[in-house]
Symmetry: C2
Subunit: 329 residues, 2 copies
Amino acid sequence: MGEEIRRALTLEDVASAAGVSRATASRALTGSDTTSTPARERVRAVAERMGYTPNTVARALAGGVGARVVVAASGPAPDVLDDPYMWRVLGATAAACDGEGIGVSLQWLPLDAPASLHRLAADRSVRGVVLVNSTERLLAELPDALRGRVASIGIGSADVPSFDVDNRAGAGAVVRHLHATGRRRIAMLAGPQWLPCSWRSAQVYSEVVQAAGLPVRVLPGDFGFENGRSGALEVLRRWPDTDAIFAICDAAALGAMAALRGLGVQVPGDVAVAGFDDLPVAAWSGPALTTATHPVTRIATGAATAVLAGAPAEGTTWYPSELVLRESA
Amino acid sequence: MGEEIRRALTLEDVASAAGVSRATASRALTGSDTTSTPARERVRAVAERMGYTPNTVARALAGGVGARVVVAASGPAPDVLDDPYMWRVLGATAAACDGEGIGVSLQWLPLDAPASLHRLAADRSVRGVVLVNSTERLLAELPDALRGRVASIGIGSADVPSFDVDNRAGAGAVVRHLHATGRRRIAMLAGPQWLPCSWRSAQVYSEVVQAAGLPVRVLPGDFGFENGRSGALEVLRRWPDTDAIFAICDAAALGAMAALRGLGVQVPGDVAVAGFDDLPVAAWSGPALTTATHPVTRIATGAATAVLAGAPAEGTTWYPSELVLRESA
DNA sequence: CTGAAAGCGCTAACAA
DNA sequence: TTGTTAGCGCTTTCAG
């Protein structure tokens, strides 16, 4: 014994080795109930020495809770799951859940089918849900059964704590930087109409630009490279004197840069380009992308932790969005 | 009833509504055992109508299997988990497991601690393991308890089926393309020494280059942008007449391009640059990156499916690596 | 503070 | 083919 772990140990093994009942061993290990100090320490030492790993599955079944956290991303089509951002959120969520022996799943929540949330609520294998890109409609339909074990990355509600980046501040900083460096015809490639937390950036853009007496030039779109490329072309077609483009996502900003390159337009000489999110690739382009950095991992960790804790936080936890100056603007 | 799902249904509810025993309902739903056609269809119809979702947790406990699949990435340090590639594998694995209602976890397997595999083997909440970047040493230490429920993305063994990209073919195609387009001083920024499946590419590079009577110029490193940047500088310092750089990963290739750009070296005019993997960013750079494409999602899906099926495939399933010609080479 | 006993929801023998 | 009976490993009343 010691080195070699043969068949998996059960709590019973630990309990009998420590000379206590299974119930006491359980209490000692979970700390859920009072135990005498000596008993507790003995049980813990024995468990440690034997290399005991609690079976999360049995624990979940007995406790009446699920064994996985679902990252549920809403959007118009299932391909919202096919996205590096989602994978990153999933990775961070997995990291946060791993300590508890809990796995994660990734699912699509159709925008127009709030019932899909009820599926999750009815599934007793689900411990909790991390909502991504949620909408007010979806939040309004939140099943009672989910209350207290759901968190949102993006907008929240009275029942759903939210973990979000302060993109008002971030977008404002970007636009003000463009203005401060002499840009006077600033266009924005904004996000999807259906996504509330992407409106905020566009709104701030409009406010700042109007306050400076500059024209408002917004094009809605999505977060992708292709949208950035076509969006930039459209911007220059509609407003040829544009001297700066602020894209809602770095990928779109890179698309805009590619379009400008194709047109022989110098960045940042002729047109400045700024992104949003600070994806790793933002630092890799030539010229490197000026953007606002978002702590996606920390945000996802916060949301996952809230879900695991079960109905703690209320309201919104804001994470900073900070300007990162590189070469493109 | 119908629309509103109140408290979660159990198999018992379905069984009694269908007028059969719980066992029969179970058999009808899982298809694990023979059931009369009318009974089976009745049970299924009732389950469907009531909106019954089996509790994966209870299922796993009763079946003596786990409820999550662990994506276990080996490497020298825990930061191997902090990698878009791992998140992508995790996402694909999650997608493959979602149908069965099982979650995924992401864990680090220290290179020098094969015992960490025993931890996973001893954890009864683990349904199976997808190994990423595994080494021969790790595979040799495979615990018996894991046999039949593990698959590897990368090298495999007699006990571990492997799902891998045919990077010999892909790397060969890249190098031959460089040669065919007139490059005669081709350097390679290779992968880590400890990672077997990255050796193959370097080996093929050497073979092709030697067969063509060209000099072998290899620098080991890792898959990162920074390594590509410093590697390219080192290449030009040691072999100033280099006219092509083949990097083991697109991120490194972009790093090399950034270094060359800083030096005022034209790509592909002075030096061609080729990557490997075909990450999304490969198409976004200026110039766009010539590389070899790898179906990471399909590979991960294959591995996850094998793990869920439980000990089906043996040997290696190869996935194609195909040359993608863009602008950089 | 601790032990005995009753489940959590499901699958898998074992009978019928 | 079906129902009955035991558990899977754990948490949690409920007594003691």
